[in-house]
Symmetry: C2
Subunit: 432 residues, 2 copies
């Protein structure tokens, strides 16, 4: 890693935006995640970076000549999605990160002391409307938590052979539906569909009765590959721009009736929510850890040296309609994932499939080893057999109308944390 890039990760670095220096803030100067925003007074969506309680408007900084882009031909930040910026390549992402870290550092006067420019370039997060950060040409979802796959296999197949034999040999994945990926805050309508009730011969049509979350992360492709040209596992991380939190909403009753033999469809295509800020892989660098031991050793195309897991604490909160307080219903960590993002991408492309800038790849539900670390209500309540107690009263087997579900995630540094911000969705009743 180049020295100037390494310096952006210095735990001692502080910003002149004082709110960024709070140890509990998701967006310290070490983070600098990218997103797309607009405001009531300036409704054109453009690219920003979150820091402290603010968003830095990169379109304005670029216009003001404060961001040098080695390869750009137009203002890639004055766009309603990050794709044009991302397509400029990793050297440019890194150069912009280095420039921003310097501009926002406590001792740099350029922007700090220019009140007029600051006025135009800084927006309070509270005043920003956040948009989907990328146009997503393709969405793939994996199934890479051993605990999750084991739990589901125990519940719906055979507890003695919960894990299918292919699971330990490859990061199982399937194609998701890109059109219905929405940004945090978008209301989620309870889906209607076919439900097969145990006491009836034929399915009935109606609103889903087993609406669930899946706690996931996602990564965004920063460099694609051509059709027929696989990405080697060792090279895969260079193709990743960054990560988001992802809620893979799931209608368990629709899913159970429809999914054999071709996989989930209407049970998941009604909505997938992602967090608005893309945390770059560079910002996550200090939080690399070893991934779980892989036994059997993967086939050669799935091998990579070094640490490819990341220590990201994750939580799920549930707040019923009108409740003053949310209940934390799950606490887990991304480091438990059996298959790494690099292995997922190598597997995705090994048969020749191409990927494109902006493609979203979901991790699969992230369940930890203990019952309070499971990543879905299906597992947390064991298919509603053991309902969760909520703070302030009430219980939940699955999600009820009006419930607001929030995913949170962060990497804990010394005296700071690199956070993802919230990934929120509130359930509205099904259409009649």
């Amino acid at each position: 890693m180049p020295a100037d890039l390494h310096a952006t990760l210095d735990p001692q670095r502080k910003s002149w935006i004082e709110s960024a220096n709070d140890a509990a803030c998701d967006f310290p100067i070490q983070n600098l995640p990218f997103g797309v925003f607009s405001t009531a007074g300036h409704t054109t969506a453009r690219v920003g970076v979150a820091i402290g309680d603010s968003v830095v408007d990169l379109a304005v900084l670029h216009e003001a000549g404060l961001l040098r882009l080695p390869t750009a031909t137009h203002n890639v930040f004055a766009r309603p999605a990050l794709n044009d910026f991302i397509a400029l390549g990793r050297d440019t992402w890194r150069s912009v990160r280095v420039q921003l870290s310097s501009l926002l550092a406590r001792d740099t006067a350029t922007l700090r002391d220019d009140a007029a420019l600051r006025q135009r370039a800084l927006v309070k997060l509270a005043d920003a409307k956040l948009h989907l950060p990328v146009e997503i040409p393709g969405y793939t979802d994996f199934y890479s938590s051993k605990e999750h796959a084991t739990n589901v296999g125990s519940m719906f197949r055979d507890p003695k052979n919960a894990l299918l034999p292919n699971w330990s040999e490859m990061p199982i994945g399937y194609n998701g539906r890109a059109s219905s990926v929405v940004v945090s805050g978008t209301p989620v309508r309870r889906p209607n569909g076919q439900l097969k009730l145990p006491d009836q011969d034929r399915p009935v049509f109606g609103a889903c009765r087993k609406l669930d979350i899946e706690l996931e992360t996602g990564f965004i492709i920063g460099r694609g590959n051509a059709l027929g040209e696989p990405i080697a596992c060792e090279d895969a991380e260079a193709h990743i721009f960054g990560m988001v939190l992802l809620n893979d909403w799931s209608a368990r009753d629709i899913q159970q009736w429809e999914y054999v033999p071709l996989g989930p469809f209407n049970a998941k295509t009604f909505a997938t929510t992602i967090s608005p800020w893309i945390v770059t892989l560079d910002a996550l660098e200090p939080f690399r850890v070893e991934q779980p031991v892989q036994e059997p050793q993967p086939l050669e195309y799935l091998r990579h040296a070094g640490n490819h897991a990341f220590d990201i604490a994750l939580e799920v909160l549930l707040r019923p309609e009108g409740a003053s307080e949310a209940t934390t219903i799950s606490s887990t960590n991304f480091r438990h994932m059996y298959w790494s993002m690099a292995q997922q991408l190598a597997h995705h492309t090994v048969a020749g499939c191409n990927t494109r800038v902006g493609d979203l790849m979901g991790s699969g539900t992230i369940s930890g080893p203990t019952p309070d670390s499971f990543g879905s209500l299906l597992e947390l309540t064991w298919n509603a057999k053991n309902p969760l107690e909520l703070k302030g009263g009430g219980t939940r087997g699955f999600i009820e109308d009006g419930d607001e579900l929030t995913l949170a995630g962060w990497c804990q540094g010394e005296g700071y944390r690199v956070g993802f911000g919230a990934c929120v969705g509130k359930i509205v009743p099904a259409s009649k």
Copy 2:
């Protein structure tokens, strides 16, 4: 149907492009399918319509003031994909069809007698390079042939209960991979992947040994729907721009090992080939037929009055490398499909999923009731147990390197046929 639109379907109408009047030509004046093309001398891809042995350059006709677009603000034909034109809406597609039918009719002198304009506006099909006709934001594949589902179920599950109980209740579908949809003529590389051999405990990595086709059609979304706003079955055809032929290449050995429980992934994401010309639903209007009796009667959201199947003859041809002649290995008809396109689209959106202009929806493998009408080699050879005899010698269980596979399809009218053109792919060896 408006009278001027009805007139475009008149079997007696002839064109001054004489090759279009040949009874065996795929592109008579009754067809007028839309595509995207370029030539060696003019390499910018733009929109064209096939007629006889020629392509009409719509960008040129529009520039020349010969095509009125009620709602257009720019030359939507001077684009490398049909999406902008399609987005103008059904009234515009129909208006352009009526105008073209009139311009190309034998007795219309405007273009016929303008040698200079004809020179610019007409290109020989043989000189045209054909491109993917639309940008495809999403690709979904269905599984709607009862015969196909029964054959596969008999082979891989239980012949006595070959059809799963959900199959008769809904058009089962799954998300495909849009990035690897390619246009006819694009070489297809044999995929590598994990193969689970019967005599070994663990999978091996290598080239697919059971490469197969799936004979399908696809339809293109002409009008999308918003998230949470399903398309009613009765309204669904108004959302369809037209149809193509589709070859859903499948690696059977990769598929069998990977597909439980989340469906096919690497077995199909390496390539899907579509034909270059989109035949509009208007051109198919005279070929509506009753679909097979549906028993049990579908749930209410899947019901529609009238005829929603189409009589489209379909063939698959295989030509080995260097062979002078192709063998017709399957002859079937789209009318056998159990679920209609309208039912597929109603089901796709009933849980709230949104669709977008250009979305591609595959029919699923189209197998007829007799062994020579099956739509895949898996079925035609019963998993290579009964290899096919090829003209000129040789047999096939699955596809070999160098084989060229061609799908063909047409509706037979009186004295003319509305054809799809060819959907071709030749297999190149796997990467080392």
